[in-house]
Amino acid sequence: MGRRFKLNINHNSEFELDLAPLLAVMVKLVPVLLVSSAFVQMMIIETELPQVVQQAIEKQEQNPKAAQIAVELNKKDGVKITITDQGQQRVEVVGYNSQQQLDLQALHHKFQEIKKEHPEIFKIEMNPDSDIPYKEIVHVMDEARRARSNQVRFPVKNEKTGQETTTDYMFPEVVFSNVMDG
């Protein structure tokens, strides 16, 4: 009587995975990625905005009676925000702290308050003094352009449909108004 063939499987056997091909792929891939990667991630500050915000900016430009917001930067006062609405002027100042640095958090809150008062305004005029470093100008622009928190939103009207919607943009249109001054 023939004995039935039985496959002998040793359940306790160990085997070593051959990692050499995997390593070979990685050795090729890593230099390729190292060469083509940009380690300094660069962005730009630009004015490409959602259509609703663009329309609101256009509407503001067509309305000469709209409130105007001018932001002055100087080493003495810090940031001086002048709001001109219907012939009346109001000045808000955010100064430097004890370490001679701008209080950016206070500045951001100030911009938020102004935006809540004037939700139809999207443009600010920036007037930095000659000695203000570029990085400080960028910081002020950052605080003014967009709300840092996603929960803070401002109403904006869609001019085409007439519907109210919200946006986190505050003053995305920054114009350097003293560029052409003598």
Binding site: L33, S37, A38, M42, I44, I45, V138
Partner: protein, 162 residues
């Protein structure tokens, strides 16, 4: 009887297996890191030499445009050096004697670009890289000259950060 000299037993045909597990681990970590930072932008901007860009919270990817850079040492149009920068200011020889904000070599270069690239000149996009420590008076000269040459829209290049 003479004593036998001690000899180290070397097996010349011996082979050994290199343990590459730890090396594979290292490469895996490196690969994940590189894949994570790998930029997929359409436009790659080369950081101009000697320019320390300011940090911004802006999350807009760069667009194509004319590249102007202003470092603590020089003003460049793409890779062409236009003027030296000394003591945080563009050298006096490059400034128009009748207009203190007008940078003549930059204006000439932008005009030349306008003539050569009529289509892209209409879009008027300038990618401006400037050193974060430069004062506004120096930047203003570039902004003013660019506006005069028909490029009022400037894209300020920044690095990601707070």
């Amino acid at each position: 009887m003479r004593r036998k000299r001690y000899e180290i037993d070397i097996k010349k045909n011996q082979t050994f297996g290199l343990n590459i597990t730890s090396m594979t681990d290292m490469f895996t970590i490196l690969l994940v890191f590189l894949l994570q930072i790998y930029s997929t932008n359409d436009v790659q901007i080369d950081l101009a030499e000697g320019v320390r860009l300011p940090a911004s919270i802006s999350d807009k990817n760069p667009v194509d445009g004319i590249k102007i850079s202003l470092s603590m040492k020089e003003l460049k149009f793409d890779k062409i050096k236009l003027a030296n920068v000394q003591n945080n200011s563009i050298e006096q020889t490059a400034i128009d004697p009748n207009d203190s904000n007008f940078v003549k070599p930059l204006f000439d270069q932008l005009q030349k670009y306008n003539k050569e690239n009529e289509k892209s000149a209409k879009a008027g996009k300038i990618l401006f890289q400037a050193d974060q420590e430069l004062p506004y008076s120096t930047l203003r000269k570039v902004l003013y000259t660019a506006s005069m040459a028909g490029f009022p829209h400037l894209k300020m290049v920044t690095v990601v950060g707070n």
